[in-house]
């Protein structure tokens, strides 16, 4: 069976799972359905022969599942019924997007076949990557040698994220403590 059929199958499963995630009333089932979508992305990376990406996607899916379960389970929440204007707006948006997609189908026929032609840069990487960097894994040699600036940027993003989380949550807890102290003093 060629890869394309597997990919189409995975895509259909992912679309069904994302619709299910939106429509389900139970929050845990919804989170599991989102997990199915992520698993589909990870599997399709595996079929497209990108194991590095598949591993990272799979692990982050587990990580996101833990965070979502910890964040949403046991907390009270309520589902807001969309108002009439919102429903009309959503309908107009769907129709417009569908029209754009149908009109742009002919553009897809102009695209080159998958994986072709090989660019000059990737050709250079494939031919000289192992010799230049000494790494057997070409993906590693690209992200940490040829394109190490990208990795530096990713690290900066993570650093900023943890800094922001610590700053905001610390301020919140401190102000809460002040408030309780004030209320105690008032009593």
């Amino acid at each position: 069976m060629p890869v394309e059929y597997w990919l189409i199958f995975i895509l259909i499963v992912m679309i069904i799972a994302s619709i299910a995630a939106l429509e389900m009333k139970d929050i845990l089932s919804s989170i599991v359905a989102i997990g199915v979508v992520g698993l589909g992305v990870s599997l399709s990376f595996l079929f497209l022969q990108a194991p590095d990406l598949a591993i990272v996607q799979f692990l982050f899916e587990i990580f996101a599942l833990i965070i979502l379960v910890k964040a949403f389970l046991g907390k009270d929440y309520h589902i807001e019924e969309p108002s009439r204007i919102n429903k009309i707006l959503a309908g107009v948006t769907v129709i417009t997007l569908a029209a754009i997609f149908i009109f742009s189908v002919s553009v897809f026929e102009l695209l080159p076949p998958f994986g072709e032609p090989l660019m000059t840069t990737s050709q250079y990487y494939l031919e000289n990557g192992a010799k230049d960097t000494g790494a057997a894994n070409l993906v590693s040699s690209i992200i940490l040698d040829y394109r190490a600036y990208d990795t530096l940027g990713e690290i900066t993003v993570l650093f900023t994220a943890i800094l922001g989380a610590f700053t905001i949550l610390r301020i919140k807890s401190k102000s809460k403590k002040d408030k309780t102290e004030l209320s105690h003093a008032a009593k």
Partner: protein
């Protein structure tokens, strides 16, 4: 979340055995990043998930005694700084920022590929500590109803 101390005895016993294997697998993925699929990012997430496993199974109080959280914070900042230091060393020794100035070694050997292995280790520490600390902070914050 702060009051209950973890899950049942079965989960605790399984975690006590499995957490070291998960940590070892993460370290393996980091150190073989230049030879096989994986690398610092994936290995770091595995290490973070191993620590999260302890946090979920044993609870917050035990984890804060078992791990030195402020040391993890220092480790996380230090690995980011060391990444930059290696980049700047590349200017003086290799001629460009983040240049591969170390000995390349043999292809397919564990100690090869120059700075790629070193940078992989730093990224692994950085990603693992950051992701664990983010969940640690988020799990510690309480949502007060009605605010």
């Amino acid at each position: 979340m702060q009051q209950n101390d973890g899950m049942t005895l079965i989960v605790k016993t399984v975690t006590r055995i499995s957490v070291w294997m998960i940590l070892l697998y993460g370290i393996y993925i980091i150190f073989h990043g230049h030879l096989s699929p994986g690398g610092g990012f994936a290995g770091g997430v595995i290490i973070a998930l191993a620590l999260l496993n302890v946090l979920l199974a044993f609870g917050r109080k035990f984890t804060s005694e078992w791990l030195n959280i402020s040391f993890l914070h220092d480790l996380e900042s230090a690995s980011a700084t060391l990444f930059l230091v290696i980049g700047i060393l590349g200017i003086s020794l290799g001629g460009a920022f983040l240049a591969n100035f170390m000995n390349k070694g043999e292809l397919f050997a564990l100690l090869s590929a120059g700075t790629i292995l070193t940078l992989n280790i730093f990224i692994g520490i950085k990603v693992g500590m950051s992701l664990f600390l983010v969940v640690w902070v988020l799990a510690g914050s309480k949502i007060v109803k009605g605010e």
